[in-house]
């Protein structure tokens, strides 16, 4: 071997100085190395990501634009300038639901694989990266996948004329990603706290994700629901992200929540999930 695989006793350099120098890059970029690893792992199901990312919006936009919308003779929603087409109304909600689905995919089983099934986090943990960087790296990789899905959606939305504002459509993916994180980061914290998987994720899917999807004013305005069901929407990242997307597309009707209020809710949910999640990563890995 030309390179010595390990340091020998005769080396003159001080071990201490060497260690101080060697940690400079991992201290700065550790989270990116974790993300790099995670993205490499995603390549294993890259086909699913790409086909799902493009196919799902295609099906929804075609199905709703050509099918469902044709049934509705009266517009069900209004924007700043009066009634809007059904396709315009649902498109921002569909985009946000796509990023939230990514969160559901990536912040559940992948976290358990890391802590338990394949103990990948323990391997990373023995390297210079910190538990906080491991958590951050996971999130960076997921943002990457969300960005792909949201941008693919955005492009198709523009092509289908499913937006009142092309400029707005450029910004909507960012809102959808924020929505995905507002749902995903609390989920990350929860997943990181699970020591034994006994079907919790199926529960999350059925009793949290599905109701959020159905009662968040995704397919009809939230105000259509009886008042006692509307709070589901108020705590739903999907509703907040969809509402901001709608405002970007065709402006908000009178009486709607202001955009800043929606964004604030999303930011608070994401920030709390993030803070708690990082703490759990540290507690488990140290």
């Amino acid at each position: 071997m030309s390179v010595d695989p390990a340091r020998t006793a005769t080396d003159e350099l001080s071990y201490r100085d060497e260690a101080l120098a060697a940690a400079v890059r991992p201290r700065r970029f550790g989270a990116w190395y974790v993300a790099e690893h995670r993205l490499r792992s995603m390549r294993a199901y890259g086909g699913t990501i790409v086909i799902g990312g493009i196919g799902q919006p295609l099906l929804y936009l075609l199905g709703i634009g050509l099918g469902l919308a044709a049934f509705l003779d009266q517009p069900i929603a209004s924007g700043a300038h009066g009634p809007v087409s059904y396709l315009w109304f649902v498109a921002p909600a569909l985009m946000a639901s796509a990023t939230i689905t990514v969160a559901l995919d990536e912040f559940t089983y992948a976290v358990l694989e890391g802590f338990k099934w394949r103990r990948l986090f323990w391997a990373m943990n023995a390297s210079p990266v910190s538990p906080q960087q491991i958590a951050t790296g996971m999130v960076i990789a997921v943002i990457g996948r969300m960005a792909f899905v949201a941008v693919a959606y955005g492009v198709l939305v523009v092509l289908f004329g499913a937006t009142g504002s092309v400029l707005g459509a450029l910004v909507t993916p960012f809102v959808a990603i924020l929505g995905g994180l507002a749902f995903g980061l609390p989920l990350l914290a929860y997943s990181a706290s699970i020591k034994n998987e006994t079907g919790q994720f199926a529960v999350v899917q059925r009793f949290i994700f599905t109701p959020l999807f159905l009662f968040s004013g995704t397919f009809y305005p939230l105000a259509t629901l009886p008042i006692w069901l509307q709070p589901i929407g108020w705590v739903s990242p999907l509703w907040h992200a969809a509402e901001v997307g709608r405002t970007l597309s065709y402006g908000s009707p009178p009486g709607a929540w202001p955009v800043w209020a929606h964004l604030l809710v999303l930011l608070v949910m994401a920030a709390v999930g993030w803070a708690v999640g990082r703490r759990i990563f540290v507690a488990r890995l140290r």
Binding site: M1, A6, A9, T10, R16
Partner: protein, 307 residues
């Protein structure tokens, strides 16, 4: 030479449980140092504290001249860690496991790739480079884990029970690889509950039990200090062993009764065996062997290493 690891009264408690109970030791550069002890002795806990992934409860610890509490990333960037439980990325190929891991140390991708090629040769896994880890045997996985631990050219290689669960042949292949590293002067810290492994790999070791150090020295020193040159092992059948031991006790300075055999400690085992026969006693089997670390452990704790 300043030690690469220095521990003073190093202690770790989990609630009421004292996992590591005030241990002192030093490891010099180039040395091959072992922690030998039974299950639950506190070996892995000690390794985690040295590896800067578990905070000590009290005592002093310096690794590469740095305090793990304040310089965890610095210490970890110069260690190679082979954990007790494999944690390879089973969905990646053998080669990608090395490259991905090298990135965690901030090593540029081309350098990772070059080192991966060399380390695969070293671990005798070159022909498996493109295979998924899932498809490797236990021994191959262990060799890959060692190769992975070397990707950052570490100052100290830490091995927690490197051959537990492997068959004898796989163990010998692994020992051979570790021996090469040792010859090159790599500093090794090894934990094991196999006395033969400790004898093979360690220049110096501490015997730990219940989180405490019971003895320290080279394998030969420990055997010389705590045992006789030879041991006579006699089997009389499990019901008679204890009674026979009483009858034979006066032949030697020290004896031990295990469930399946009686051990008589003597410098000349054959001579003692002759005297046993003179008394008209006829064991089912008899064996004279050299003393081992197992005997040292038995002497120190009254128990066997492997229960």
């Amino acid at each position: 030479m300043t030690p690469v690891i220095q521990a003073r009264a190093l202690t770790k408690t989990y609630g009421e449980l004292v996992a590591v109970d005030g241990i002192d030791f030093e490891v010099a550069p180039g040395e091959s140092f072992g922690l030998l002890g039974p299950n639950g002795a506190g070996k892995s806990t000690s390794m985690r504290m040295i590896g800067a992934v578990s905070q000590r409860t009290s005592g002093e610890l310096t690794v590469l001249g740095l305090d793990p509490d304040t310089h965890g990333p610095e210490i970890r960037s110069r260690l190679g860690v082979v954990p007790q439980e494999d944690n390879l990325d089973t969905e990646l190929t053998v080669r990608d496991n090395l490259i991905v891991y090298g990135r965690y140390f901030g090593i540029p991708r081309p350098v990772c790739a070059a080192r991966a090629t060399e380390l695969l040769d070293f671990a005798e896994l070159a022909d498996k480079a493109k295979v998924k880890v899932d498809e490797l045997s236990g021994g191959m996985k262990r060799r890959l884990t060692i190769a992975r631990a070397l990707i950052n050219e570490p100052a100290v290689l830490m091995l927690d029970e490197p051959t537990t669960g492997l068959d004898p042949q796989a163990r010998h292949v692994l020992w051979d690889r570790l021996f090469r590293l040792k010859e090159r002067g790599t500093t090794l810290v090894v934990t094991t509950h196999y006395m033969d492994e400790a004898e093979q790999l360690c220049d110096r070791l501490v015997v730990v039990d219940h989180g405490r150090i019971m003895a320290e020295g080279s394998p030969a020193d420990l055997i010389r200090t705590y045992s006789t040159r030879e041991v006579l092992e006699l089997r009389f059948g499990s019901t008679r062993n204890a009674q026979m031991a009483v009858e034979l006790a006066d032949l030697v300075d020290r004896h031990e009764v295990l469930p399946d055999r009686v051990l008589l400690y003597a410098d000349d085992g054959e001579a003692v065996l002759a005297r046993v026969r003179d008394r008209g006693l006829d064991p089912t089997t008899s064996l004279v062997r050299r003393s081992s670390l197992e005997d040292v452990f038995l002497r120190l704790t009254g128990r066997s290493l492997i229960e």
